[in-house]
C-alpha cells in the first residue's frame, strides 16, 4: 500500500444505473482507486441528506452519490428529488465550512463503467489534495473543550471564565 494519505469516500449508488455501471466496470476489468466504499440503494431518491451528514460525521472525507441520468430514472423521477435535496444540502455544507468538492452528485448510466472509473479517480485525487475532513477528531476536540469547561464550572470558576470559552464551538468547521 502506498504511504500516501488515503481519503475515505462513501458512495451511495442507485441499484439500476450506477451500481450496475460499477458492476460493468468490474466485468470490464477497469482499474480505479480503492478509496470508495459503495452502499447500494434502490434509487438516488432514497439518499436522505442525513446519510451524507452521518457519513461525514463518522469520518468520511467525501461522499459520492450516483444516480440515473435525467429522464432515465427507473422510478421516473427519484433522481430529480435527489438533485433538489442535494442542492439544498450543498448550501448548508458550505455554510458549515465544508468544501464543495467533498460532496458530489453524478449521473452514471448502466452502460458507463468508464465513467465510474473516471469519477472515482477524479474524486480521490481532489480529496487527496484537499486533505482530511476529520470531523470525528473535531468532535473529540470539542468534547474535550466542553469537558474542560464543565470542570471549570464544577470548580466554581464559571463566573470568572470569559465567554470566549464557547467561541470555538460556533466557528465553522473548516480546518
Amino acid at each position: 500500500m502506498s504511504e500516501q494519505w488515503q481519503p475515505r469516500i462513501v458512495a451511495f449508488f442507485c441499484n439500476w444505473c450506477t451500481y450496475t455501471a460499477a458492476d460493468l466496470a468490474g466485468v470490464s476489468r477497469l482499474k480505479y482507486a480503492a478509496n470508495t466504499r459503495v452502499i447500494r440503494l434502490m434509487c438516488s431518491g432514497r439518499v436522505d441528506p442525513q446519510f451524507i451528514l452521518d457519513a461525514l460525521a463518522k469520518g468520511a472525507d467525501a461522499v459520492l452519490i450516483g444516480g440515473c441520468h435525467p429522464f432515465d430514472c427507473h422510478y421516473a423521477e427519484g433522481n430529480y428529488k435527489c438533485l433538489r435535496r442535494f442542492q439544498l444540502l450543498k448550501r448548508m455544507l458550505k455554510d458549515m465550512g465544508i468544501e464543495e468538492q467533498r460532496v458530489r452528485l453524478e449521473w452514471i448510466s448502466a452502460a458507463e463503467g468508464e465513467k465510474v472509473k473516471r469519477v472515482i479517480n477524479e474524486m480521490t485525487e481532489t480529496i487527496r489534495a484537499l486533505g482530511p475532513l476529520g470531523i470525528p477528531q473535531k468532535f473529540a476536540a470539542w468534547d474535550q473543550e466542553m469537558e474542560a469547561f464543565a470542570a471549570h464550572v464544577e470548580a466554581g470558576e464559571a463566573l470568572k471564565t470569559p465567554c470566549s470559552a464557547h467561541a470555538p464551538q460556533q466557528e465553522p468547521a473548516h480546518v
Binding site: V10, Y32, A34, G78, R85
Partner: protein, 672 residues
C-alpha cells in the same frame, strides 16, 4: 471469545474465493479472520466457490449446527447471486431476508491492483454488512398474480417468431408494428445466406400465419406510447395511426390503387429503398400482412399538409364501392392493453452511407447500399429482378463491394456488424448470377463464423469472385488515364494489403455493405420500457451470458437486432428464448415481488403531507379522518424517495430502512 455481543444475533460469514477471481487480489483468509472479531459473528469461513452446491450446503449445514440466524456472503455482485444465496438461507430454515451480500468481486478484486488495499476494502465492506445484517427483519415475499396475455413490440422476424411461439402455446398475444405491414428488414431481402433460401418464401407463410392466428391480435401501423404497472400487470397504451382505411372492411383487392387519380406511381417507395415509386394509396409489398392498403396523407390529394381538404374527386372511394373501406375522417385512436409480459423486438437500422462521404453515396448515382441491391435483385423488386444501374437500362459489367461501411471504424461505429461479410458474399453471388459481371469484394477480415458460412466463402472463391484485402480509401469518378479504362467509371482506391501496393480499380457499380446500428429512436423506446442501452445504443441485456434476453425490468425481454447485430438464425433463436422466458413467467401464474416497499408508522406520522407529491406512482394517499398518510403497498415500487423526505422519520422502507443504512455507513467507516 470475548467480544461485545448484543442479544441473540448469531451471524455466519462466508468469503468466497471465486476460484482466483477474488482470491488473487483479496486475501480471503485474512478477511475471514478479521470478520471473526466483529460483534455477533459466530462463524467466519472462506471457501473456494460459495455459489456451488457444496458452498450452499455449507451455509445450510452451519445454520443448523451453529444456530445461525443471520448470514453474510462476500462474493460477487448481489445483482448476480443475491437470489441464489437467499435461496440457500431459506433452505437452511431461515427467513431469506436475514441475509446480506458483499460485493468484493465486481467492486473490489476486479477493479483494484494493490492486494493490501483491496483486502482492506473487502474487510470494511464485510464489516458494513455484518453491522447491517444484525438490523435485518424477517420479510415476506409478496405474490401477485400475472396477467396471461403478452405484448410483442416490433413485427420483424424476431417479433413474428416470438408472437407465434407464445400464440402456439395458447397465450393471447398483441403484436404491435409501426409500419403498415409486418415483416421488417427480412421482408426486403432477396435470398438468405448461406443456403440461398428465398427470404419471402420462408418469411411470408409465417407472416400470414400471424395474420390469421386466433391468439394473435395484430396492431399494424401502431406504436406504444405509454407503459404503466409492473411485471405481471402492465397497462400499455398503443397509438393506432390513421391509415384512412377501415381494416375490417378492406379486402386487399387493391382496386383503389388502380383507380387512384394518379395514373402512374409517383412517390418514393420506402419498401424499395426509393428505387421504385408508389401511389398515395398503396400496399407496401405484395405479401404485406395485414393485406390492407394505407393512404399516405403527405402525398394524397385529398389532404394538404396532412389536413383533410376533401378536394380530390376520390376515385378510390368510388372504386372501393360497397365495401366502404375508405374513411378519410379516421383519427388517431388510443388503445389500452393489459398484459403480463412484454417482448421488445424493435430491430435495427442500417448505417447511413452518406456519413462516409469518401465512398460517394448520394454523390455518384451508381454507388448503392446493400439494401438497395437486395431490392434490385429481387423478382418482386422495382425492376423485377433485372439488375440495371440508375439510368434504368445499363447492366453493370463490373461491380465492387466494399465491406465494413459503418462497422469496425473508430470514426463511425466500432463494432463488427456480424452479417456484412456473409451478405456481401451472398450479393456477390446473386449479382454474378444476374449479370455475369466481374465482382470484387474489398474486405478487412473475412468473418464467417456460423454453420455452413465458411463453406459458402469457399464456394464464392470457386465461383471466381475476387477478394481483395484492404479498407477502401475512396471511391472517385476522376479518371487518371484513358488507357486504364477509367473514363466514365467509378474508381475504387485501395491498398491491397496482401499484394502490398495501392490499386485503382474501375467499376460500373459500387455496393456499400452498410453495418447495423441501433434504431434512431432506441433511446425513446428504452425510456418507455424502462430498459438500459449499452454505449453503442443497443438495448442492454441483464447478463451478457446468463440472461441474454432479459432486461433489468422484470417481465420485459429483448430479442433480435435491437440487442446487438445478429443474423436471422440467431435472431429467431433469441426470439424463441424470449418467448420461453415469458412463458415461464406466465405459466408460473404469479410473480414474487421483492419486499422493498415502504410503510408508514402511523403513531409517528404528523400528517404534514410532504410525502404525497413525491410519489411517482401515487401510492401515498392521505387519510383525512386520521390525518395520517397511508401507503398502498400494491402500488409502491420501493424507490424510497418518500422515506428520505419524511421530516418525522415515520416512513420505513423494508430492506433499506434507516437503521440498516446507518449501520452500513458506520461499518464502512469504523476505525480499526
Amino acid at each position: 471469545m470475548d467480544k461485545p455481543s448484543k442479544s441473540n444475533i448469531r451471524i455466519g460469514f462466508y468469503v468466497c474465493h471465486c476460484g482466483s477471481n477474488i482470491a488473487a487480489m483479496v486475501d480471503c483468509p485474512a478477511v475471514a479472520k478479521y470478520v471473526e472479531t466483529l460483534p455477533n459473528v459466530v462463524l467466519s469461513r472462506d471457501y473456494k466457490y460459495m455459489c456451488s452446491d457444496p458452498g450452499q450446503e455449507l451455509i445450510q449445514k452451519d445454520i443448523a449446527e451453529f444456530k445461525l440466524n443471520r448470514v453474510v456472503v462476500a462474493s460477487c455482485s448481489p445483482l448476480l447471486h443475491e437470489h441464489t444465496f437467499r435461496g440457500a438461507v431459506e433452505a437452511g430454515g431461515l427467513n431469506p431476508f436475514f441475509f446480506q451480500m458483499v460485493n468484493i468481486r465486481e467492486h473490489d478484486s476486479w477493479v483494484h491492483t494493490d492486494k493490501a488495499e483491496a483486502t482492506a476494502k473487502a474487510k470494511e465492506l464485510a464489516r458494513a454488512a455484518v453491522l447491517r445484517v444484525a438490523q435485518h427483519k424477517a420479510l415476506e415475499v409478496k405474490k401477485v398474480p400475472i396477467h396471461p396475455d403478452a405484448l410483442v413490440v416490433g413485427g420483424g422476424i424476431a417479433g413474428i417468431h416470438a408472437a407465434m411461439t407464445l400464440a402456439n402455446a395458447g397465450k393471447k398475444v398483441f403484436l404491435v408494428e409501426r409500419e403498415p405491414s409486418i415483416g421488417g428488414h427480412m421482408a426486403k431481402f432477396d435470398k438468405t445466406f448461406p443456403t440461398l433460401d428465398c427470404a419471402a418464401c420462408i418469411l411470408t407463410p409465417k407472416m400470414s400465419a400471424v395474420g390469421t392466428h386466433p391468439n394473435i391480435t395484430l396492431l399494424s401501423y401502431s406504436e406504444v406510447t405509454k407503459l404503466d404497472g409492473y411485471v405481471g400487470n402492465y397497462t400499455v397504451t398503443v397509438k393506432r395511426k390513421p391509415r384512412y382505411i377501415i381494416e375490417d372492411k378492406c379486402t386487399g383487392c387493391q382496386d383503389c390503387i388502380v383507380n387512384c387519380v394518379y395514373k402512374e406511381p409517383k412517390f418514393r417507395d420506402e419498401f424499395n429503398e426509393g428505387l421504385g415509386k408508389r401511389k398515395p394509396v398503396y400496399i407496401p409489398f405484395p405479401q404485406a400482412t395485414p393485406q390492407v392498403v394505407a393512404i399516405d396523407p403527405k402525398t394524397c390529394l385529398n389532404f394538404r399538409n396532412g389536413e383533410l381538404t376533401n378536394k380530390c374527386k376520390k376515385s378510390c372511394v368510388t372504386a372501393c364501392g360497397e365495401k366502404q373501406a375508405i374513411d378519410f375522417n379516421q383519427q388517431e385512436t388510443f388503445l389500452d392493453l393489459k398484459v403480463g409480459t412484454i417482448i421488445i423486438t424493435t430491430g435495427f437500422q442500417t448505417f447511413d452511407a452518406k456519413r462516409m462521404p469518401q465512398y460517394g453515396y448520394g454523390k455518384y448515382p451508381n454507388v448503392y447500399t446493400a439494401l438497395e441491391i437486395e431490392r434490385l435483385v429481387n423478382t418482386s423488386g422495382p425492376t423485377g429482378g433485372h439488375v440495371v444501374m440508375r439510368d434504368g437500362k445499363t447492366e453493370p459489367k463490373s461491380i465492387g463491394i466494399i465491406h465494413c461501411v459503418g462497422s469496425r471504424d473508430k470514426k463511425t461505429n466500432r463494432w463488427c456488424s456480424r452479417v456484412c461479410c456473409m451478405y456481401s458474399m451472398k450479393l456477390a453471388h446473386l449479382l454474378k448470377e444476374h449479370t455475369g459481371a466481374e465482382v470484387y469484394s474489398f474486405y478487412i477480415d473475412m468473418r464467417t463464423p456460423g454453420k455452413g458460412y465458411e463453406e459458402f466463402y469457399d464456394k464464392l472463391l470457386e465461383e471466381g469472385v475476387h477478394f481483395i484485402r484492404g479498407r477502401v480509401g475512396e471511391v472517385t469518378d476522376w479518371a487518371m488515364s484513358k488507357e486504364e479504362m477509367e473514363e466514365g467509371k467509378l474508381i475504387i482506391r485501395v491498398e491491397d494489403t496482401l499484394a502490398g501496393y495501392v490499386r485503382r480499380i474501375p467499376f460500373d457499380m459500387v455496393v456499400l455493405a452498410t453495418g447495423m446500428e441501433a434504431q434512431s429512436d432506441a433511446q425513446d423506446v428504452r425510456r418507455l420500457f424502462n430498459m438500459s442501452c449499452g454505449s453503442e445504443g443497443f438495448f442492454l441485456e441483464r447478463h451478457p451470458k446468463l440472461a441474454p434476453v432479459s432486461t433489468f425490468t422484470e417481465g420485459i425481454f429483448i430479442a433480435g437486432a435491437c440487442q446487438g447485430p445478429r443474423d436471422i438464425p440467431d435472431t429467431v433463436a433469441q426470439a424463441g428464448a424470449a418467448a420461453a422466458e415469458a412463458l415461464a413467467l406466465i405459466d408460473k401464474g404469479h410473480i414474487e415481488q421483492e419486499p422493498n416497499t415502504a410503510y408508514i408508522i402511523e403513531e409517528e406520522c404528523c400528517g404534514c403531507k410532504s410525502c404525497l407529491p413525491l410519489c411517482p406512482y401515487t401510492a401515498i394517499t392521505f387519510d383525512t379522518g386520521k390525518k395520517k398518510a397511508v401507503i398502498n403497498e400494491a402500488l409502491c415500487k420501493g424507490c424510497g424517495t418518500c422515506v428520505a423526505a419524511c421530516p418525522s422519520g415515520s416512513i420505513v422502507q423494508n430492506l433499506f430502512d434507516d437503521d440498516e443504512i446507518f449501520s452500513e455507513i458506520q461499518g464502512v467507516l469504523a476505525h480499526e
